[in-house]
């Protein structure tokens, strides 16, 4: 546990007036407030630090204690005991932002020096919103293809969530109210789940469209015919046009990935043909190819 220089955090010196503190805090809070920096962990950490610094320095009692014992925080407990006899009351009023602060957001240093959360400063009942939680959920492409439910365990609580078909790799969804509990009747934080969709199939996904390859033997490519390919909807028969070129691509409308939160709508499936040249030809076959190559086209 390290000593935290609250003056340095707010960029002020030790002679700063309450007005200077408020002004420095406001300036930094505007820069790092979580509302203005969504999903930015660094900003959140900075905001927690400046919030904590403000919590201490804007309260005359806490500031006095910090100035006296801050460097030597290990004696804070003795200080606390001595204070109990004095029965001093505090008229401290609210100064901390409620945006993202919660009981668990104070540093170990703060907890050691002030014996707990921000609520220990006086009679105030500030409502703090709970912490937001972040989680990552791993899915396979086939899981993401269908709307399904999963039960997650977050902070020893089971949460059943419905994952809509078509969720994108890297997409984050918010489950309101399933983050950390609010303090003093404040609202709970939210749970943010980021999806990591792995693809182990031969079918590639790009947005709502799918891409796959199909092998064609030379004879079907030249003469046309029918092949069967695997799609996420199952096996599909395809008619191959005569004289199909290697690398040519066809589109199967509506055979792609489900569109997120748009039931019944699908992207397209693109199939690229790879023509396989026959190998291990017999002498007879080689002769026929030679004959073919000498014929006029």
């Amino acid at each position: 546990m390290n000593f935290l220089d609250y003056y340095k955090i707010l960029g002020i010196d030790k002679t700063a007036t309450p007005k200077d503190i408020k002004s420095a805090y406001r300036k930094l809070a505007r820069k790092y407030h979580p509302d203005l920096n969504p999903n930015d962990k660094d900003a959140k950490r900075n905001f927690q630090q400046i919030n904590e610094a403000n919590e201490v320095l804007s309260d005359p009692e806490k500031r006095k204690k910090y100035d006296q014992y801050g460097n030597d925080w290990k004696h804070a407990e003795e200080f606390e005991k001595a204070k109990q006899y004095q029965q001093q009351s505090s008229d401290y009023q609210r100064s901390g932002y409620s945006g993202a602060q919660s009981e668990g957001d104070f540093s170990e240093f703060f907890e050691s020096l002030f014996g707990g959360s921000a609520g220990s400063g006086g009679n105030r009942q500030v409502k703090y919103r709970g912490n937001d939680f972040n989680a990552e959920l791993h899915l396979d492409l086939l899981d993401a293809y269908k709307t399904h439910s999963q039960t997650l365990t977050v902070n020893r609580k089971n949460i059943r969530i419905t994952i809509p078909a078509g969720i994108e790799n890297g997409q984050t969804i918010k489950i309101p109210g399933h983050g950390g509990p609010g303090v003093n009747g404040g609202p709970n934080g939210d749970l943010y789940i980021t999806f990591s969709v792995a693809n182990h199939s031969d079918i590639k996904r790009l947005g709502n469209d799918l891409y796959t390859r199909a092998d064609l033997d030379l004879y079907k490519a030249v003469l046309g015919g029918e092949i069967t390919i695997d799609t996420l909807k199952g096996k599909v028969k395809l008619k191959v046009k005569p004289e199909t070129q290697n690398g040519s691509r066809i589109k199967l409308k509506g055979m792609g990935f489900p569109v997120y939160k748009n039931e019944g709508h699908y992207g397209d499936l693109y199939v690229t043909y790879t023509i396989k040249i026959p190998s291990n030809l017999t002498d007879k076959q080689k002769e026929l190819f030679k004959e073919l190559s000498e014929s006029e086209f």
């Binding site: 203005l36 890297g170 590639k204 947005g207």
Partner: protein, 102 residues
């Protein structure tokens, strides 16, 4: 087939009383197109879906001292960030598609 959706509404005056804010603040947000107020029998209501956004506006205005013009600008920029983040996800996935082909 059309389905009816239930939207929960909160009376503006009740919301303001509970959150200790002025009704004029809500009116200003509405005038700036930042929230939508539904009027039923001369009483203003806010859809529950807007609550989180509204609470954010309250924090920006009352706690960070950001005026309405600032809130409007920030909201616009945050929307742009959202769109850009969606685009980054799409581009990353597109890149992944080509990387796996190599």
């Amino acid at each position: 087939m059309r389905t009816m959706q239930t939207e929960y509404l909160i009376a503006v005056d009740e919301f303001c009383a509970n959150n200790n804010i002025e009704i004029s603040f809500i009116s200003s947000l509405e005038q700036n197109g930042l929230i939508e107020v539904i009027t039923i029998q001369e009483t203003g209501f806010i859809g529950a879906g807007q609550l989180q956004q509204l609470e954010k506006f309250i924090r920006l205005y009352y706690e960070l001292d950001i005026n309405l013009e600032g809130i409007e600008t920030i909201t616009h920029l945050l929307r742009r960030i959202d769109l850009m983040q969606d685009e980054i996800i799409l581009l990353k996935n597109r890149l992944r598609l080509y990387e796996t082909e190599l």
